[in-house]
């Protein structure tokens, strides 16, 4: 049985069982690294991707439940050579220690900025609350989200 899903604008036929969490499909079948396995329980945000523009935990979203909704992963925001605005902001702020949480952080931040381009500091913290970082990179992550917002607004480049 094949399931078709649209990831970063491209359609894929997947041979996985429909119960397979999207996380494993992205990582193992599509060989995308952006979504990380952190807890598999919807509690840490390492696996965050977008479904129809909303940040969701891919570890608890069975691939059979996706239907024709579109999925975006970290890879869909940009590349090493042409990083997206949020990715670039994380690079500019050097916002990573081990970096394991960062992919999920970028995806969650991106979802916020697409909805609220100029969030308050309070809104940023509140929105990022579901995602965990163990290295203590939080302060830089907050700066990076602010920077991305400023870049979008043309305040800085």
């Amino acid at each position: 049985m094949t399931i078709s899903i649209t990831v970063n604008g491209a359609k894929h036929e997947i041979g996985s069982d429909p119960d397979t969490p999207l996380l494993y499909v992205l990582r193992d079948d599509l060989e995308l690294n952006g979504a990380k396995f952190g807890c598999g329980l919807g509690q840490c945000g390492a696996c965050t991707v977008h479904i129809d523009g909303k940040a969701v935990f891919s570890c608890i979203t069975p691939v059979g439940a996706i239907g024709d909704r579109s999925i975006r992963t970290l890879e869909g925001l940009g590349s090493v050579d042409a990083p997206g605005i949020v990715q670039k902001a994380f690079q500019d702020e050097q916002a990573a220690q081990c970096g394991y949480c960062i992919a999920g952080m970028i995806m969650r931040a991106q979802a916020l900025l697409e909805k609220i381009p100029d969030p308050t500091d309070e809104q940023i913290r509140e929105h990022m609350q579901p995602n965990l970082c163990r290295c203590g990179t939080h302060a830089r992550i907050l700066h990076a989200v602010r920077r991305a917002s400023d870049v979008m607004a043309g305040v800085i480049r």
């Binding site: 494993y24 952006g34 203590g136 939080h138 302060a139 907050l142």
Partner: protein
């Protein structure tokens, strides 16, 4: 048997090298003395890890185009060491960093530098690479002078991989090197580049690993995919101390999707083609009943638990000088609970048995030890095993990485030809990884009439923090297989590094000091190294006491510290941070606002770190809002200021999380924590509003390493700020919002 050796590998790449380790002297350096099997010292006079690997070609190779490959026996753990070491090598080779390729720990290719731990990487590997690179540059200049037929003083390296003679002629590194052998021992006094000449060191070279990590590149061991790779899951009971009663093998092997069921004694793992199948099989099997396979866990408080166990008393300090009589005294006891590493990515390893070579990819901090453990466990000649470090999620000590690597090796050994990826689940990590030990201290100190501290009695109780595996008994699977390898007896790490005793010796200048480490070898719960080991509670205790003494004396806490501090660099970081914080001008604008500081020199050997903090407390919830944090650090010569700031910021936030909410608990039979709701860590809402780190410039001073220096001072500064805000001395971590709230109801 056709093991690949370092020799054959290098021979294949055209450069043969002698690589013998014969002399059995211990190199007193590796891995911050945090255990592991340490490499031997062959050349004790050389700096850093050159002691154990003195040949230049162990560290640096130059190809014909002049690109350098640099080998380090230290691992990138997210601390940015790859970038810092690249900067060091580029600086002393006088090459652009882009022309330097850094190879990190690989038992086949790099020197054994012991563990990547204890904030030792810059000290060990940074120092070695710096001096090795200086040696190489010295040889290159000499050789270039000979080729160009000018005096040695007439050639200069230009920073772009060329050497220029004073008459303007140039020659490239590649061409120069082709006539040179690097198979020579380093000399201790190759000239280092001076600060005024620096092109790379001291600048903020962007971290080399961040582009991949922000764009979905393959950055972690979790991202590795080998051809024909199988997925494995271990099948275990819910927590340390349990044993599953599984159905018969034949029944399991008949389950849909099982490629292989591996069972050896009490170790069990399922292997499947698809990862999700492995997870589902694991879930089904873990539904089997379990029995308790160990004595009950302690359920009482930390101090009570530890003090009930037999201890060996180790005198850390016993100093006395005649002083004036004590006038006023203060006594306090402090505790810290067991703490989980809580890496965001659970442990993972890959292993592949090809012909006779078993390759293990691991994110353990002790790659060479992973190889030793696997050799012991599988009873294989060590030359037939290669272990390679690949980054994992931040680990801060010994989490499940060593366990999972040995397990992957065992599984792969039963599936010749097929690479196997083993991923622990979140709940397995919480249930089975070694915890950071719980600890307790008691301090009794007194002031004389002039507010000098004339009595200092200090006792610390702790389990060993050093249970890094060097043989199969140190990993879970070793205890589970039949015949099993016994868990080795815990041993203390001797001072000056220490383990539970780490930083129990105050750096302060106190005339009378009596410090005793009550070392408890019997571990009621599985423990091992966690970032900063005993320094976390010891610094917390000492620094809390200084504030209590200052309060008793009626003098400023900073002054009490300065009055008892002879070390100029220590004074300097305190003054720098105090100044930037505005300590002298601080003013309480609200009742539940407070200011506090903490200071330590990590291990009394490493980086100096002073932290100042301003807090406010929400009266009705007890929630602590950290408004401002100002840190100053001195970690010797600065390679990457931004990298140092990043490490210290992280240490502060992580330490605040430990201090305010973390306690790994048991209910007597099981560990209680199995997910992020049962083990909550600090989230964005509670991150300090402002954090600033000042890095002291110390040109020419040795590297000191920085990763762990903030843990103790940050927690101490918080406790001191809370005491300032409330008048209540909180002595037991975690200081949760509820603890604070109930203490201040009537304030």
């Amino acid at each position: 048997m056709n093991p690949i050796t370092r020799r054959s590998f290098l021979a294949a790449s055209g450069i043969a090298v002698a690589f013998a380790m014969t002399r059995p002297a211990r190199a007193q350096l590796a891995g911050g003395g945090e255990g592991g099997a340490e490499p031997v010292a062959l050349a004790p006079a050389l700096p850093g890890s050159l002691k154990s690997s003195p040949y230049l070609d162990s560290w640096i190779l130059l190809d014909q185009s002049g690109r350098a490959t640099v080998f380090s026996g230290k691992a990138e753990l997210g601390q940015g060491i790859r970038t810092a070491l690249t900067q060091v090598a580029a600086e002393e080779l006088d090459l652009p960093p882009a022309d330097v390729d850094l190879v990190t720990v690989d038992t086949l290719r790099t020197p054994d530098e012991g563990l990547t731990a204890g904030s030792h990487s810059m000290q060990d590997s940074g120092t070695a690479i710096r001096n090795a690179a200086a040696n190489v540059r010295m040889l290159l200049l000499r050789q270039a002078a000979a080729i160009l037929m000018v005096g040695e003083g007439d050639v200069t390296s230009m920073g772009d991989g060329t050497i220029r003679a004073s008459d303007g002629r140039r020659i490239g590194y590649g061409e120069t090197a082709s006539a040179l052998s690097m198979r020579v021992e380093a000399v201790p006094d190759a000239p280092l580049r001076r600060k005024s000449q620096f092109r790379t060191m001291g600048t903020n070279l962007p971290r080399l690993d961040i582009p991949a990590k922000t764009t979905g590149g393959a950055a972690f061991i979790h991202d590795m995919r080998l051809p024909g790779m199988l997925h494995a899951r271990v099948v275990r009971g819910p927590s340390e101390g349990t044993r599953l009663a599984l159905p018969p093998d034949s029944e399991i092997e008949a389950m849909d999707g099982v490629v292989k069921f591996v069972r050896n004694g009490n170790f069990a793992a399922v292997v499947a083609e698809r990862e999700w199948n492995a997870v589902k099989l694991m879930r089904r099997l873990q539904a089997s009943p379990y029995e308790l396979a160990r004595s009950p866990f302690p359920t009482g408080g930390v101090a009570e638990t530890l003090k009930a166990l037999p201890a060996r008393d180790i005198v850390i300090l016993d100093a006395s000088k005649p002083t004036a009589d004590p006038r006023r005294s203060v006594r306090k006891s402090f505790t810290r609970h067991w703490i989980s590493h809580g890496s965001i990515g659970p442990s993972c390893a890959l292993a592949w048995l090809q012909d006779d070579l078993l390759t293990i990819w691991t994110h353990s901090q002790g790659t060479f030890d992973v190889r030793r453990v696997a050799a012991d466990l599988l009873k294989r000649p060590i030359e037939t095993i290669r272990a390679i470090h690949v980054e994992g999620a931040g680990c801060y000590g010994q989490n499940g990485a060593d366990d999972v690597a040995a397990e992957a090796a065992l599984i792969a050994a039963s599936l010749p030809g097929r690479p196997v990826r083993l991923q622990w689940m979140r709940e397995q990590e919480f249930g089975w990884e070694p915890l950071g030990p719980g600890m307790a201290t008691e301090v009794d100190a007194a002031l004389d009439g002039d507010n000098r501290i004339v009595r200092w009695n200090y006792d610390v109780w702790s389990n060993p923090h050093n249970n890094r595996p060097v043989g199969a008994g140190g990993v879970l699977v070793g205890n589970e297989v039949v015949p099993s390898f016994p868990v080795p007896e815990g041993k203390p790490i001797p001072m000056p590094e220490g383990d539970g005793s780490r930083n129990s010796n105050p750096l302060y200048d106190l005339p009378n000091m009596n410090v005793v480490y009550h070392f408890i070898k019997d571990m009621p719960i599985r423990v091992s190294a966690l970032r900063s080991l005993g320094a976390h509670l010891n610094v917390f205790s000492i620094e809390s006491m200084f504030d209590e003494l200052a309060l008793t004396a009626g003098i400023d806490p900073l002054d009490l510290r300065l009055n008892h501090m002879a070390d100029d660099r220590a004074r300097q970081v305190m003054l720098t941070a105090a100044d930037a914080f505005g300590w002298r001008k601080r003013k309480k604008a609200a009742q539940l606002q407070g200011f506090g500081m903490g200071f330590a020199r990590y291990k009394n050997l490493g980086a100096y770190c002073a932290i100042f903090m301003e807090v406010r407390i929400e009266r009705d919830t007890g929630r602590v809002i950290v408004r401002r944090v100002q840190a100053a650090v001195d970690c010797g010569e600065v390679v990457s200021p931004n990298g140092i700031e990043n490490q210290v910021e992280g240490a502060i936030i992580q330490s605040l999380s430990w201090c305010t909410r973390e306690a790994a608990a048991t209910d007597g039979t099981l560990r209680k924590n199995f997910d992020w709701s049962t083990y909550p860590i600090l989230r964005f809402r509670d991150v300090p509003e402002h954090i600033d780190v000042i890095v002291e410039d110390q040109p020419g001073k040795p590297f000191l390493g920085v990763a762990e220096c903030g843990q103790g001072p940050a927690s101490a500064a918080l406790a001191n700020a809370l005491a300032d805000a409330t008048g209540v001395r909180f002595t037991d971590m975690p200081i949760t919002a509820e603890v604070v709230r109930s203490a201040i109801v009537t304030l």
